[in-house]
Symmetry: C2
Subunit: 149 residues, 2 copies
Amino acid sequence: MLRVSKFTDYAVVVLSRLEAEGGVQTAPGLAAGTGIAEPTVAKVLKMLSQAGIVEGLRGARGGYRLLRPLSSLGLSEVIVAIDGPIALTACVDGGFGLCEAEQTCPVRGRWDPVNSAIRGALSAIMVSEIASPPVPRRAAALQPVLVAE
Amino acid sequence: MLRVSKFTDYAVVVLSRLEAEGGVQTAPGLAAGTGIAEPTVAKVLKMLSQAGIVEGLRGARGGYRLLRPLSSLGLSEVIVAIDGPIALTACVDGGFGLCEAEQTCPVRGRWDPVNSAIRGALSAIMVSEIASPPVPRRAAALQPVLVAE
DNA sequence: GCAATCCGGACCCATTGGGTCCCCTTTGAA
DNA sequence: TTCAAAGGGGACCCAATGGGTCCGGATTGC
C-alpha cells in the first residue's frame, strides 16, 4: 500500500508543536498539547533525538528542543529517522545473498531507480510545508498512512 | 517503512515474463516460468485484468494477454492496481469525517503535496525500466518490499 | 459433453506495526 | 545532601493485515 507508519505522522505533529511553542518542551506537555498518548510521544521524541533532529535534555527542568528549523528539515530525514531506510524492495542497493533466488530473479536490483526517485521527491519537501500553518492548534490521534493516486 | 507489497513486485515479474514470451499465457504457465506459486500468480493476474492492464481469455486455450507494452505502462498504474490508491496518510484528498479529531488535527490534509510528489515520481517510471532486461530468465520468489535511503 | 481455464470469493496463518508499562539514570532545586 | 522531575531504554502485548491456499462456479474450445 505504500504506506508510512503513523509514527512519522505523529513526528510531524510533534515537531510542528515543538516549533510553534519554541524553547524546551517536556514530553508530557507535548502529549497534552497534541492529544497523542504520552508514551507514544516519548517514543517518537526518543527516535527523533537519536536521529539528531531534536535534543533531549535530562534531569529536572529537562525536555526536548529543536536542533533545526522545520523549514530546513527534509521530510525524508524524518521518515528515515522513524521508519528506517527508504527501500521499496528487499533486494535493494546490493542486498547480496538476501534473495534466495538471485540467479533466477529477473528484477534483482532493478528497483533502485524507483527508490532514488522517491528519495528525491521526499527530500525536496520540508517538514514545515506539511506541519500546521501559522495557526497552531491542538492535535489528536491520527489514522494509518498511505501514498495514493 | 514505506514499503510496497510483494504483490506489486510479483506483478512486475509476471508482466515482464508475459511480454518476454508474447501472446497468450496461462496462469499455471506463468507460475512455472516465474517460480511464483500458481494461486498467487492467478491472484496478481486477476487484479491486473481488473485494472485493464492485461486481458483474461476464458475457456480452453484461454490465458492472459498484455494490453499495452510495458514501455508505456507507468509503474504507478501497477501499484494502484495492486495496492490501491497511493496515499501516505489516511486523511488524504478530502477524507472528511474519517479523522475523529478533525477540529484539532494540525496536519489535516497537509500530506497532499507529498502524495502528489510521489505520484509524479512513480508515474515517470515505466515498468519496462524495472522489468528484466533484454535477457529474460526464470524468476523466483521474492522478498518483502521497501523504499530506502 | 468433456476438459481446460479463468473468475470470484472465503478462509487461515504469520508478521509486524501500534501502543503500554516498568525501571534506571540524570540533574536541577529545595 | 536529598528529592523530585524528566529523559533513556527495554520488554511486552494486542490487533490489523498482508501473504498465501483452497474451493466451487462460469465459460469456451475440442
